[in-house]
Symmetry: C2
Amino acid sequence: MTARALDFWLEFASTYSYPAAMRIGRAAREAGVAVRFRPFLLGPIFKAQGWDTSPFNIYAAKGRYMWRDLERLCQALELPLVRPDPFPQNSLLAARVAVAAANEPWLEDFCLSVYRAEFARGDNIAEAAVLAGILGELGVASAKRLAAAQSPEVKEQLKLQTEEAQRLGIFGAPSFTTEDGELFWGNDRLEAAVAWASRQDGAAARRSDSR
Amino acid sequence: MTARALDFWLEFASTYSYPAAMRIGRAAREAGVAVRFRPFLLGPIFKAQGWDTSPFNIYAAKGRYMWRDLERLCQALELPLVRPDPFPQNSLLAARVAVAAANEPWLEDFCLSVYRAEFARGDNIAEAAVLAGILGELGVASAKRLAAAQSPEVKEQLKLQTEEAQRLGIFGAPSFTTEDGELFWGNDRLEAAVAWASRQDGAAARRSDSR
């Protein structure tokens, strides 16, 4: 059987990545799609566009709208929401921990816990202690993981992952990419991305049936 | 009975306004919501943000994504799509004709026809002849309407409508505003906006029941 695969590109500082992260597990399970969590950094991508912070800070009307829109979305999903301070959070350390955990069974839980800490509790995810707490709750050796996250290898790994995102045409988060090269952007496109990944497999299966 | 009202803010040059315009009539009818078509110009709003053209032209990755995303959306909706040339189209004359027709029964049909001309047939909506053709098909005296569209009064009317959009926090198109001050942005938010407007009435009705 062909694997139904979807890459979920997340940035820990990204607001709309929060509801997307909370929703993707169930949506993918129901569609029989395997999701790969791929943390990356928007900072270098925004910088290449001439932005030195979140566009929600640069463009005031867009920022005001986003906070209200996110509030309505979270209300409908019954997700708690506090506004991170500072915004955007410095997501570098969390992204390094996550990228180093690409093959760990706890990666998805770690990502969800980071979003909850940031957007449901208002913790500052830039703080090593916050991430250590999350890792500890997952039963992971936090000191070892936090040290490894600062190694040259992991720094390079995150840099490469961010460059790959950029090569795939990613310019915001959350984003989703399929094996046949489709890109979907935004929490709004989660369902479309999952459906596309699921049909992709269907097409492959039909091709193999007709042989 | 309280009127269920929703303002639909459209820019004729805006790509995602095309599927939104094609969808809003049915969605609003099914929800018992009355939609007011409110043409405005994004140009002055973009200019205030330091942009001299569409952000889809300024930010290449975002532009490439938008065209593919719009293609997928239109395919799913069975809407034809051609890429306007030039993009964005100069929508000034069309917006002036539409703003002057705020109280005309043919306003909605005119708006839909402009989008079809631009995105389904690839006509240049900056051309008076294209708009004259549309007005003629609607049984409207086109020469009179096109002349009136260039009057100082109508120019001022469109300027005021654009300023109102900006005051409401609008920064892109399509946008939707409700009577209780909610703003929804994007073709993706059409259903949420219609549902909100419809519930608004429900709340008003419940308040009046409990008197």
